[in-house]
């Protein structure tokens, strides 16, 4: 049977000439299946899961109430006001879209780079992607105020006989986000089909058999099916890789194609993409560290996986820090007084507190990952990942609000503050996100079992190297 030396517990140590194992604890095919299926098959979840669900579903209910209030009353319930017409709505949108990048990055980009360690975390990250896109998509939808005419953004033939302006980055956004959401969803689902078949084959009652049977589409692990499945997976990865890079690029165009100092800059696309990966991995760590503790996934999501994610956070966090510095350099180098003012004002103006929160969380805190202790101690990296989440939210706040609040016309300068409804909507979106993620943990295969089996050392020392 497939076994790994049980004594080896720390696979974050590099041994020359030998690939570090990706699965620990003497696991074989059957025990991987058991480890993952146990979560969905258990009659009860750990107490922490119920507590978390109670909190997050209450917050989701609050989100429902504030959104209903918003739609019934109007956008005036938010703090958006001249000159800050874009505020929490767009800040939260960009924040959640950014988070949504890690999933497809892990599924697609790391797949193309043959990074086998992705198999333990790709399923949960993809789920996180879908849920983050749901949270993100909510904000543009409700910020139009009259959500019942949101279909105006779709090129549908109607009696209005008016078409959209396809040269507008906001239209690009509609296409990019909806493409990203639907492609991520189908990628996620396709990945789950073989695991649904496992669930179906282990079903203990008729209802589970029926539900997972429908979801698995009758998959029976046929070699001919696997052949096409792997081909499809490769094609999807090849197409999702440019897609994942394009989405935040296009989101950054919302800002970069305007003429506002602080927004009108060519560094935005790469800077946004790096920030998105940074925040996405931050959120993956935030979710994975407690999940692996709670659900006994430590043998599958090993210290090596966590360390690799920490390294990516360190790399992208440093790119983000470089971008912050480069923005200042370009502002100085451009010789434009308005550009210079925008950045001096950003760091030392009325919103200095937001700027320096952003810098300390995004640039300084990931630097801790230079130390191996931080990269291998789960609770430490959990704390850093929380800082990364906070910092990335503030980055979007800084970009949106500080650029707008002092525009070209000093008579319209103002100090934006969110209302209670703004803050409740943000908190509620976290509630929605965590509710969906907790339900995912309960009902769906949280780890890609079929993929893990594929990267395990095969029995009797055989099997090919991928």
């Amino acid at each position: 049977m497939a076994t790994v030396t049980a004594s080896l517990v720390d696979n974050s140590i590099e041994t020359p000439g030998q690939r570090a194992p990706l699965v620990l604890g003497g696991q074989d095919y059957a025990s991987v299946t058991d480890t993952v299926c146990r979560i969905a098959e258990a009659p009860r979840m750990p107490l922490a899961w119920y507590v978390a669900l109670a909190i997050s579903s209450s917050l989701t209910a609050m989100l429902g109430v504030v959104v209903a209030y918003l739609l019934a009353t109007g956008i005036g319930v938010w703090g958006n006001m001249n000159p800050v017409f874009w505020a929490f709505d767009i800040v939260n949108f960009v924040f959640w879209v950014g988070i949504a990048h890690a999933g497809t990055l892990i599924s697609a980009v790391l797949f193309l780079f043959r990074q086998n360690w992705r198999t333990s975390i790709n399923r949960a990250s993809e789920a996180m992607t879908i849920f983050a896109v749901i949270c993100a998509g909510m904000f543009p939808a409700i910020h139009v105020g009259r959500i019942w005419v949101i279909w105006y953004t779709a090129p549908l033939p109607t009696q209005n006989w008016v078409w959209q302006n396809f040269r507008s980055p906001l239209m690009w956004d509609v296409f990019a986000i909806s493409t990203y959401a639907s492609v991520s969803a189908i990628f996620w689902y396709m990945g789950m089909v073989p695991d649904f078949a496992t669930f179906r084959d282990r079903a203990t009652n008729k209802w589970k058999y029926f539900a997972y049977g429908i979801l698995s589409l009758g998959w029976n692990g046929s070699a001919r099916a696997w052949h096409r499945y792997e081909r499809a997976y490769l094609l999807l990865a090849a197409m999702s890789t440019p897609l994942v890079l394009s989405v935040h690029t296009i989101v950054s165009f919302d800002f970069a194609t305007s003429q506002l100092p602080g927004w009108h800059t060519t560094i935005f696309p790469p800077y946004f993409v790096a920030g998105a990966i940074f925040s996405g991995f931050g959120m993956v760590l935030t979710l994975m560290v407690p999940s692996r503790e709670l659900f006994g996934l430590k043998d599958l999501i090993t210290p090596r996986h966590l360390e690799n994610m920490c390294k990516i956070i360190l790399a992208t966090g440093t790119i983000v820090g470089y971008s912050y510095a480069m923005e200042f350099f370009i502002a100085w180098y451009s010789g434009s007084r308005y550009e210079q003012f925008a950045f001096i004002n950003r760091a030392f103006g009325p919103y200095w507190w937001a700027y320096w929160t952003m810098v300390s969380c995004n640039v300084l805190s990931p630097q801790l990952f230079w130390f191996k202790k931080f990269r291998t101690t789960p609770w430490l990296m959990f704390i850093v990942s929380i800082f990364v989440n906070i910092g990335m939210w503030f980055e979007r706040f800084v970009i949106v609000v500080t650029s707008l609040h002092r525009d070209f016309l000093p008579s319209s300068w103002a100090y934006y503050m969110p209302t209670t409804i703004d803050i409740c909507t943000l908190i509620g979106s976290f509630g929605l996100f965590f509710t969906l993620f907790l339900l995912f943990l309960r009902f769906l295969p949280v780890v890609a079992m079929a993929e893990i089996r594929g990267v395990m050392p095969h029995p009797q020392g055989e099997g090919e190297q991928h």
Partner: protein, 450 residues
């Protein structure tokens, strides 16, 4: 119709569908698959809980056609995006934005790219499942008892009973000889593979119920109703605002409409040109006082002034005002034509096309003989001809006798244009060849008057 109950018809029997054999490792599976293939089987398959690399060669699986579908779909998506954006933004609904080109390939690229990816990805996944014969409700393999672990940690080879080489004993022997741990013949009940009828029925019922709301909405929208329709999305159709004639508790006088604040003039109401707006050379307020004076006690009924015998007893105080004698707007042929057009619209219905006081309304009113109609005075009377044009302007603006005030109906420019035309009409009766420029005179010789 009773043959269902005939006892001699046999119930459908399970038929032999496949033979499945279990192996424990990927390598055993690859070897077994190769041997089955070498034995000449064609309809066979291997089943594993993850893709076993190397089995394609062993089984002779050729490269899938899937990428061609992906490529075709991506190209189709991209072309669609080009066509959609081109037609919508340059042909059907061009947007003028800062003079930027309507057809702008760089600006179209993001959506072209996204639609390539969207169609490519969905086609890849859907075609992959379809080529694999999925979704499928049941297969002989999944009906076997021992195959449940094929999705966890066991490896299987299945031989389809439809293969010409297949035989119950021969196939079993082959599988056992190549090291299978367990071999099972797998039967399938034809009735078993069908989708449960209860579910089909349930789905149809649910679908029918779901159709009801949209149909009800469509019916409601389509029908004509005596009462206002249900107005779900109010948008700005009903606004909390004060309308003109509504009562309003907020103000002491209970009215929504407000008077001008004393000492102010509403925008556009500053009529500071006496000549243009009043027809007076200069105004000291006399005109306004006279116009606002309470009407004198009705005089004793007198016969309608037929044919111009003005009551000469009292001098009209308006006569004494300094009326302008010329039109205070530029006199051009265009103004005159405009005046003709406006005259024919607003004045001729009572005054007649030629100004004789014989418009259609007048003729009809006189025919009715109600005694309340006062026939308009002909323009061609001495009195009207001699009135200064400013006085006539005042009459048009404020009305006289039965004639209503036209000041609110016809703009000030048009009123002067009408008066210019009125003077032209008068000239048609009193004109003299000497008034006509010599070079135009020959043309007039051919004009025939009735």
């Amino acid at each position: 119709m009773h043959y269902h109950h005939q006892p001699d018809l046999p119930a459908p029997q399970p038929v032999l569908a496949a033979m499945v054999a279990e192996f424990q490792t990927p390598r055993e599976l690859i070897e077994a698959a190769r041997k089955v293939r070498d034995a000449g089987y064609q309809k066979f398959d291997a089943h594993s809980p993850f893709p076993v690399h190397g089995i394609d060669d062993a089984m002779g699986i050729r490269m899938s056609r899937l990428p061609w579908f992906t490529f075709g779909a991506a190209v189709f998506g991209g072309l669609n995006a080009v066509g959609m954006q081109w037609w919508m933004n340059t042909v059907d609904y061009p947007f003028w934005i800062s003079g930027k080109p309507f057809a702008s390939i760089p600006a179209w690229m993001p959506i072209i790219f996204e639609l390539c990816i969207l169609l490519g990805c969905f086609t890849t996944v859907i075609v992959m499942f379809l080529l694999n014969g999925l979704p499928r409700f049941a297969s002989p393999f999944s009906r076997a008892v021992s195959t449940l672990r094929s999705s966890s940690d066991r490896f299987f080879v299945s031989l389809d009973a439809r293969d010409p080489k297949f035989s119950l004993e021969g196939s079993r022997q082959l599988l056992e000889s190549i090291g299978a741990r367990h071999v099972e013949a797998c039967y399938i009940d034809p009735a078993d593979a069908k989708f449960p009828k209860a579910l089909v029925f349930g789905a149809i019922m649910l679908g029918s119920v779901l159709v009801v709301p949209p149909v009800a909405i469509a019916k409601h929208r389509w029908e004509e109703k005596r009462i206002p329709k249900v107005h779900w999305i109010q948008d700005m159709d009903f606004q909390t605002k004060f309308k003109t004639q509504k009562a309003n508790k907020f103000f002491a006088d209970g009215r929504s409409m407000r008077q001008e604040v004393v000492g102010t003039i509403a925008r556009g109401d500053l009529e500071d040109d006496d000549k243009l707006f009043k027809g007076l050379e200069h105004d000291d307020g006399t005109l306004e006082r006279l116009l606002n004076a309470p009407p004198a006690a009705p005089a004793a009924p007198q016969p309608a002034p037929a044919g111009g015998a003005p009551a000469a007893q009292e001098p009209d105080p308006l006569d004494a005002l300094p009326w302008v004698k010329t039109v205070p707007i530029p006199v051009t042929l265009e103004t005159l034509k405009r005046g003709e057009e406006r005259y024919n619209i607003y004045c001729s219905v009572c005054h007649g096309i030629a100004g004789d006081g014989d418009g259609l309304v007048t003729l009809r009113a006189m025919e009715l003989q109600q005694g309340t109609w006062i026939k308009p005075v002909s323009y061609h009377t001495e009195n009207v001809r001699n009135q200064p044009i400013g006085r006539l302007f005042n009459t048009v603006t404020h009305g006289v006798r039965k004639m209503s005030a036209m000041g609110d109906v016809v703009t000030v420019q048009d009123r002067w244009a009408i008066l210019l035309y009125l003077r032209a009409l008068q000239k048609t009766r009193t004109g003299d060849p000497a008034d006509v420029p010599a070079d135009v005179l020959p043309e007039l010789k051919d004009v025939k008057f009735e």
